[in-house]
Assembly symmetry: C2
Homo-oligomer: 336 residues x 2
């Protein structure tokens, strides 16, 4: 009965207090003042349950990621959460642990909580799961799901730009023999990244040597094994680009274990720019994934949709190369 107290104190009806609370136009300045004062004096805070029940909006957004423990996501979560907080929106978040089936139950939980909107920032998405949300009339935004681009709003990241920059950096250092550590090709993002790398290579008229491509599981361990495989090849590449930083870190360890010095004997470039990329030795040159921008766009899009504003399709985001110390001219080539 709290809005009633405020109304009494301000000598208005609860309707008027509600109008002030929600910033509706058409309240006389004097009344406005009075109500505001009453709100302040009583330290009044609207009950979100009552609001949600009545208005159908909860000011609650859902955020679904693949894995909190993957250092890729904290920044994304952080950025999304900060934006929401600034608008008085709370975020509940869950993760699928890379299991597309869990997406289904994550979304169900969010629907049960009647969130206003859901950001599905996982690397893999099953369309079935999204349909629940669609049926419940809850707007959804995805990250980099090209095959669903027509059906659901999507924040796209264009990998090609990043790989092109890496490649040009390596070429300018004098590298010609470039290997690649790919991720499992049934994973969308891994396939997309490999395609982008190969496209970059082709655009420089270079061809891809199959024996200079190794596959890893996208984790440190996989990078280590892939690097071991690559180091066993003869001839060897003089530079290696990895699909993600976690595997680049593993590759670094494998190189160290084989007494191959990075960058003196071998150059190495990662992808993502995880915090760890700057912490290993040597600090890793890597392609920065614009995940804060992804979060910002996702939030913007959802919050516009919820308010009924029109949303325009944005141009894809461009990742860029961050040069640190894991790249150098190939052995035998003088630094110019």
């Amino acid at each position: 009965m709290d809005i009633i107290q405020v109304a009494k104190r301000a000598n208005v009806s609860t309707a008027t207090v509600s109008r002030v609370l929600n910033g509706f136009p058409g309240v006389r300045e004097k009344t406005l003042q009075r109500v505001r004062r009453a709100i302040a004096e009583t330290n009044y805070v609207p009950n979100p349950n009552a609001r949600g029940l009545r208005a159908g909006r909860t000011r609650l957004f859902g955020l679904i990621v693949s894995d909190v423990n993957n250092p890729f996501f904290p920044e994304l979560i952080d950025a999304f959460e900060a934006l929401a907080a600034a608008q008085g929106i709370e975020v509940i978040f869950t993760h699928t642990n890379y299991d597309p089936k869990r997406l289904q139950s994550c979304i169900r939980r969010m629907i049960e909580r009647s969130v206003d909107a859901i950001a599905v920032m996982t690397s893999e998405v099953e369309e079935d799961a999204l349909q629940q949300a669609a049926r419940a009339g809850i707007p959804v935004v995805l990250m980099n799901q090209r095959k669903l681009a027509g059906k659901y709003p999507n924040v796209l990241v264009e990998y090609t730009a990043g790989f092109r920059e890496s490649l040009e950096h390596l070429l300018s250092l004098g590298h010609r023999d470039i290997g690649f550590i790919e991720g499992p090709q049934w994973i969308n993002s891994a396939r997309g990244r490999k395609d982008a790398f190969i496209a970059a290579l082709k655009s420089h008229g270079m061809h891809v040597r199959d024996e200079w491509i190794a596959t890893g599981d996208l984790r440190v361990e996989g990078g280590r094994k892939a690097m071991d495989a690559l180091l066993a090849r003869r001839p060897r590449p003089t530079a290696i680009v990895a699909t993600n930083d976690l595997m680049a870190v593993g590759a670094l360890q494998a190189a160290y274990a084989s007494r191959v010095r990075v960058p003196r004997d071998l150059s190495l470039i990662g992808f993502d720019d995880l915090p760890i990329a700057a912490m290993v030795h040597p600090p890793l040159s890597t392609i920065r994934h614009p995940r804060r921008e992804v979060a910002a766009r996702a939030f913007e899009l959802l919050s516009k949709t919820v308010r009924g504003e029109p949303v325009a399709e944005d141009a894809p985001l461009q990742p860029h190369l961050v040069i640190r110390n894991s790249t150098a001219p190939p052995p035998g080539v003088k630094r110019r």
Copy 2:
């Protein structure tokens, strides 16, 4: 009006449906069946806002941490969230970014959402902020806040055990000259860890050489600088224990830059067992902070309190040493 549909379908009143929903005893088996079937057939999901509004309970818990970007927290968040999900409880979480003032507004936001309980898992806590929650009648649990131990329930971690294990490990390798990289002493957890280290040293009849203690900011950069300082000392310690893994990682980089080989020339032990500890080279021996257990205890305690069950004070959790490859006998001592 949805519970009404279910009630109609089952030929009972909404009160009975509600009883079934909430698992209240005293519903005839036959009625129970009918209601359950009606719920299943209609795919009925109770509206959490209506529930919360009426019952005062929201099945929403708050979780406050210092910093999502600090790799210490994701596992804690993950564990807390999983436990909550298993009980149909949702979690909203925020972080203070180490600013005790932000704790105030974090807690306010949670109160506005009328969460049922709040876990304040930050390294620093200001009592003022907690009082809001107390006034609102919302149970709170803290992590390792010894000075507030009497007033608020607290999940304690006993640092001493971990440091004693490190020390004994180093002694058994033959080290006698042991340095320490401390954190800023105005930070509770940093002071607690240093005290614990010194206590462990004393319990072995060893004394503390002031010139073998350096201070860092708890981040990688701080560890790097502290290590540089320590490496300049003559005589030098043969082993160094760092207050946390992030600084240990920095120390490792500084050692590398000075061509001091770890562990051959110098042994190094961290604290926390962050994922990164296993990723650097050499993989870091470190004291594992039982953060999943902390989350589990915090959740247990809150959920019991909310249900009105009595809570017993648990014995402090014990961290343990994880031996990897950053420790070896001091130079000149043969491995036995």
